[in-house]
């Protein structure tokens, strides 16, 4: 049995898991990513392994329209990024 910490939950201490991280992306035709800028590091996209799209929550003020890319960058890492078609920004976020 887990012992009660006997303290109130502090909502401000809650931390979102897997929160998207804003990044910069240079693209070629049709928003296809060619280079990622994460922090100060720049990585060339060697290969787009997969791409998929989400369109949902269209009834809300802020609908969800994203294209995800599973990319292999020049340093050998595999990164998942997405383009938010509403805000027009790019983010890095794991996807499962």
């Amino acid at each position: 049995m887990v012992k009660s910490p006997r303290t109130a939950t502090n909502p401000s201490a809650l931390r979102a898991l897997n929160a998207p991280e804003a990044i910069s992306v240079q693209t070629i035709h049709q928003n296809w990513p060619s280079t990622l800028v994460i922090g100060r590091a720049q990585s060339k996209v060697n290969e787009v392994l997969d791409a998929w799209r989400i369109e949902d929550e269209w009834w809300r003020d802020s609908p969800l329209i994203r294209t995800y890319f599973d990319v292999l960058v020049s340093d050998g890492r595999r990164i998942i990024i997405y383009h938010d078609h509403v805000s027009k920004h790019w983010f890095k976020q794991n996807y499962a």
Partner: protein
């Protein structure tokens, strides 16, 4: 330029899984340059025929198919089946039939062994992400996937099985495509690309999301996992598809390869055959039909006159030409089966000849044939009314003729079961029907998934008046509570999505009457399965598709009026000993017609509506020809161009001036329209006019008429039929302007066929005759067949009283289950009391018949196992008054004291449940209660009976209405008199959204009221109230009277329950 064919496409006939109509898909596919398109709705072929017809018309090659649910280890998976050959189509129909016959019809699934046995002639695609192979691959069970693929290859054969690749940009699609491609290479199975299209354009994904949410009864917020991840399931262009599959070009090429092989044409290659009758030795079908007709003609006419001979010869010639003798013999057989039912139900003496008491009667155009009259199919002698053959038996048949038969409700119920038994479900099945979304359903369902407040949705949907979901915005703008919401978030989605959803089919249901018959198994032509009603089977085609397939359809209809007639005749015989043959009554009885001329037609079949009442007063029928014109006149197709008023004007002019020449646009109209004074009253005249003016062949004229009657073909009228009519008319010497004026006479609204008008006119007269000569039995029959007709039972009670028929409250010791005639009064039955089931009513009567009258409330309760609520309702209705000397309130009190909680099957032991309760003394708990006031008694009777036998609500509030004119005085007032009137609203009607009509009822009669659109707009909400006080002007026109309203008030009488008006939109 790449080419592509979509081989996996759902329409809205996938029911809650497709967001576009057949028309939208066909047009879009054509616009995208597809050479072909496959329709693969979920587990059904409901739209296959209409898809094929529409696609062909647009030059698009249609491929018939279905996405079929296949059970793998008990789990539902999806495969795509495409029809290559006639055998393949037959196999697909049988698979889809079996998928429902051998499992829960609501969740059809095909067993793998059935798939194996029905593989010939079909091309199998491995299915979507939920396909058996895809699922096994996703689960990492590569061996299972390979085994399944090999099995399908074995069942379907090389080149008939393809691995289906779908790239909808959903997470996992790319991986699955790779795995499937690899598998294909391993075992040598080709791949094919599809897009699993669920809508024609991307924007429709919102409606698709809503439909899926409706299907799972969740809001959009809750249905995330049930819906598709994105909006990529639309018909994509060949370019888009080629890009998506640029690494697997074969998958695109194979779509064309498959499309090229699927050449089965559902519109021409069905193997349907008209039903055949088992004739006695020595006869063929035609000879036996001829024999039966001549035999009956001898009985009916005494001898075969030259007129009968010549008509029979002509009919037999056409019957032989169209191979219809088997069909007519089958109809004869159905009438014979109906007769057996009639005898078994004790409704007729077996000794009485069929002609004297037929079990049913014909309606529709079939009434025009003498063969039908002789075989007992119809009750109208076509020779007597000079009815032509061309509508039912034209020289060239466009579709198989159908015969509509009306039966009393009880006979029809049993008859349908016996037909299924006699012919088997695979040779006789009911036509399917597709109930569609209209405004209320759209508001309710779309509103629910959008998460809008339930209370507001109910309010909005209840107050709507239009039927079409296109009108949600207009309706909201007309309502003060919703006006401001129209453009607000979510509500604007409701408006837009309801518009898109309008007319979508909600599912497959049963056509009320149409039965399809076939010599070859029906399940080879169309999937057949059980309906929601026990013992009934339906096809997946509606009447239009069945008609396009040239299937024979018999309409077996329940007609309440025939039940009423049957009941009344039985009661008359019981009371007077007189057996009345309604075919031999005086059809020119002056007194009966006089009653009609006064508009005294409440409760009479076909002529009781407010519109019919107003027309009959003006037409003043004097014989059966007039009756046919009367019932035909009040139809939307006649009224569309002010036809009814014009016809009446011409009729009156002819009466005053017999030689008055009928005005025609062109003399070529005369042969078609002379008998109805230049107006189109009957469907037949539609065809005749096209033939006479534009030289259409009978076949063309029939196709022309059908184009109007089918909304999905309306587009052809302007582009195809008008130029054809104009050119045809021109060659007959009719100039363009005149032709245009004549063309305007055609419309797609409903009209009666001429023979049908005679059939119904005769029935209407017979009912009017019964009402005039035997009002008591007429009303008993009418009460026992409720609900039917245009009026609630309170209004019928008032009418009965005006005809000298007293209505008596129900009585536990005097009533039977149904109403009965008691001296010169109508005694209400126990079934008239709310909450009394047929079983309870039967038990109360049986117990009384067996062991004598009930002596007290206690006695009734001890001898019957009735629910407390039922007893309270019996008390409230007055049915227990005779069992106690105490007021009704005290009776209800006693019922409460004596009632015990019902024992349930979950009791401690079976023995304990059987133990009889000891009666408890309750006398000491009785309290002195006063008799309820007449008003309170009325409210209680409205609640329990729907009527107040002894008086009328308005009589109780008359002293508050000193300035109000009663309905009986309105007729005396001169045209233009300003009056105030008040009463219960018994009917509301808004034909074609013009003037709003209501009928008010007070204790003296009815007042027809017209509310002009501008007045209606001001008082729309108030006009929904049950009791109204109106100010307006009396108008008299050609013997009719109306009050044209200026202002509206409600009268609040604090009555919780009032009889409900019947609303017609």
């Amino acid at each position: 330029m790449p080419e592509y064919v979509e081989l996996h496409c759902h329409s809205n006939f996938s029911f809650q899984e497709g967001a576009s109509t057949i028309e939208q898909l066909v047009v879009r596919a054509s616009d995208l340059g597809y050479p072909a398109l496959a329709l693969t709705d979920h587990d059904n072929l409901s739209a296959a025929m209409r898809f094929s017809r529409k696609a062909r018309r647009r030059g698009l090659h249609p491929i018939t198919g279905a996405e079929v649910t296949l059970a793998i280890d008990g789990e539902p998976t999806h495969i795509t089946l495409l029809v290559e050959t006639q055998t393949g189509y037959k196999n697909l129909c049988n698979l889809l039939s079996l998928s429902r016959l051998e499992s829960d019809r609501r969740y059809p699934t095909v067993r793998p062994d059935l798939l194996a046995r029905h593989a010939e002639g079909l091309i199998l695609l491995s299915g979507c992400a939920r396909g058996p192979i895809s699922r096994a691959l996703e689960q990492g069970r590569l061996n299972v996937a390979e085994d399944l693929a090999r099995q399908y290859l074995d069942w379907f054969g090389e080149n008939n099985f393809f691995l289906e690749l779908q790239q909808n940009l959903v997470y996992g699609d790319s991986a699955r495509i790779k795995q499937l491609s690899r598998l294909g290479q391993t075992i040598g199975v080709p791949v094919v690309a599809t897009n699993n299209a669920h809508y024609h354009i991307k924007d429709r994904h919102r409606l698709q999301d809503c439909l899926v949410s409706i299907q799972v009864r969740k809001t959009l917020e809750q249905s995330h996992r049930d819906r598709r991840a994105n909006a990529e399931f639309y018909l994509k262009s060949p370019d888009q598809m080629a890009r998506l599959f640029r690494e697997i070009p074969d998958s695109i090429h194979n779509t064309l390869e498959i499309a090229g092989r699927c050449n089965f044409d559902i519109t021409t290659q069905l193997t349907y055959k008209f039903p055949r009758y088992a004739v006695p030795d020595g006869y063929d079908q035609l000879a036996y039909l001829n024999y039966l007709c001549r035999d009956a003609a001898q009985r009916k006419y005494g001898r075969i006159t030259p007129k009968v001979e010549s008509r029979l010869r002509e009919e037999m010639r056409r019957i032989e030409k169209h191979d219809l003798s088997g069909l007519l013999l089958i109809y004869h057989e159905i009438i014979t089966v109906g007769r057996e039912v009639q005898i078994d139900l004790g409704l007729v003496d077996p000794e009485t000849p069929l002609e004297e008491a037929p079990p049913g009667r014909g309606r529709g155009s079939s009434v025009a044939i003498l063969v039908g009259y002789l075989l007992g199919i119809s009750h109208i002698d076509p020779l007597k009314y000079d009815l032509g053959l061309d509508r039912f038996l034209p020289e060239e048949l466009v579709v198989a003729p159908d015969i509509d038969l009306d039966f009393p409700r009880n006979i029809r119920e049993e008859l349908i079961k016996r037909i299924h038994e006699r012919y088997g479900w695979d040779h006789a099945a009911l036509t399917g029907a597709f109930p569609t979304y209209k405004i209320r359903g759209a508001i309710r369902d779309i509103g629910m998934v959008l998460g809008l407040p339930q209370a507001q949705l109910s309010k909005l949907s209840i107050q709507t008046e239009h039927a079409s979901a296109q009108q949600v915005r207009d309706e909201m703008l007309a309502m003060p509570d919703f006006r401001d919401k129209v453009d607000s978030p979510i509500w604007r989605d409701l408006v837009e999505l309801s518009k898109q959803l309008d007319g979508f089919p909600r599912g497959i249901s049963q056509h009320p009457s149409g039965m399809l018959l076939s010599s070859t198994p029906l399940s080879d032509q169309v999937p057949v399965h059980q309906s929601a009603m026990d013992g009934r089977y339906i096809t997946q085609w509606d009447k239009h598709s069945a008609e396009d397939a040239k299937f024979v359809k018999i309409d077996i209809l329940a007609l309440g009026a025939l039940s009423q007639m049957q009941d009344a005749l039985r009661l008359i015989e019981q009371r007077t000993g007189e057996s009345i043959d309604l075919s031999r009554i005086d059809f020119e009885d002056h007194a009966v017609y006089q009653a009609m001329h006064r508009g005294d037609t409440v409760g009479i079949f076909q002529i009781e509506s407010a519109a019919q009442m107003q027309t009959i007063i003006r037409i003043k029928p004097k014989n059966l020809v007039d009756m046919a014109h009367e019932v035909a006149a009040v139809r939307p197709g006649v009224g569309a161009n002010d036809g009814v008023s014009e016809y009446i004007r011409r009729r009156k002019r002819r009466q005053v001036e017999p030689g008055w020449p009928i005005p025609y646009e062109h003399i070529s109209e005369e042969p078609a329209l002379e008998r109805t004074l230049g107006m189109i009253l009957f469907q037949d005249q539609f065809n005749e006019l096209a033939i006479q003016v534009a030289g259409f062949t009978p076949t063309e004229a029939e196709e022309f008429r059908r184009a109007y009657s089918r909304p999905d073909e309306n587009e052809d009228i302007a582009s195809y039929w008008w130029p054809k009519f104009r050119d045809g008319a021109h060659s007959h010497g009719v100039n363009g302007q005149t032709a245009a004026r004549i063309f305007k006479k055609f419309n797609g609204q409903y009209m009666f066929p001429e023979a049908h008008a005679y059939a119904f006119g005769v029935t209407a007269y017979q009912m009017a005759w019964l009402k005039y000569h035997y009002p008591l039995e007429f009303f008993v029959g009418l009460f026992n067949e409720q609900p039917m007709g245009f009026y609630n039972i309170e209004t019928l009670k008032e009418d009965a009283k005006r005809h000298g028929v007293l209505i008596l409250k129900p009585d536990a010791n005097l009533s039977r289950e149904q109403c009965l005639a008691e001296s010169n009064a109508l005694r209400l039955g126990l079934l008239n009391v709310a909450g009394i089931s047929r079983e309870s009513a039967k038990a109360i009567v049986a117990e009384r018949d067996q062991r004598g009258s009930y002596r007290s409330i206690e006695d009734l309760m001890e001898r019957n196992n009735l629910l407390k609520e039922s007893l309270e309702n019996l008390a409230g209705s007055g049915a227990l008054d005779s069992l106690s000397n105490t007021p009704r309130r005290a009776i209800q009190w006693e019922v409460g004291l004596r009632s015990r909680p019902k024992r349930t099957v979950k009791g401690p032991s079976h023995q304990a449940q059987r133990q009889v309760s000891l009666p408890l003394p309750v006398e000491h708990d009785m309290v002195p209660l006063v008799e309820p006031s007449a008003w309170e008694q009325m409210i209680e009777e409205y609640r329990t009976l729907g009527l107040h036998p002894s008086s009328h609500l308005m009589a109780y509030i008359r002293d508050r209405l000193s300035e109000v004119t009663t309905t009986d005085r309105l007729w005396e007032l001169p045209h233009g008199t300003v009056v105030q009137i008040a009463g219960l609203v018994i009917r509301r009607q808004r034909p074609l959204a013009k003037t709003y009509f209501i009928t008010l009822e007070d204790e003296f009669g009815h007042a027809p009221v017209a509310v002009r659109p501008e007045v209606y707009k001001r008082y729309r909400t108030l006009l929904r109230e049950p009791i109204l006080k109106l100010k307006g002007v009396v108008t008299h026109r050609e013997g009719t009277m109306n009050v044209v309203v200026h202002s509206v008030e409600t009268i609040d009488v604090f009555a919780r329950v009032t009889p409900k008006a019947k609303n017609w939109n």
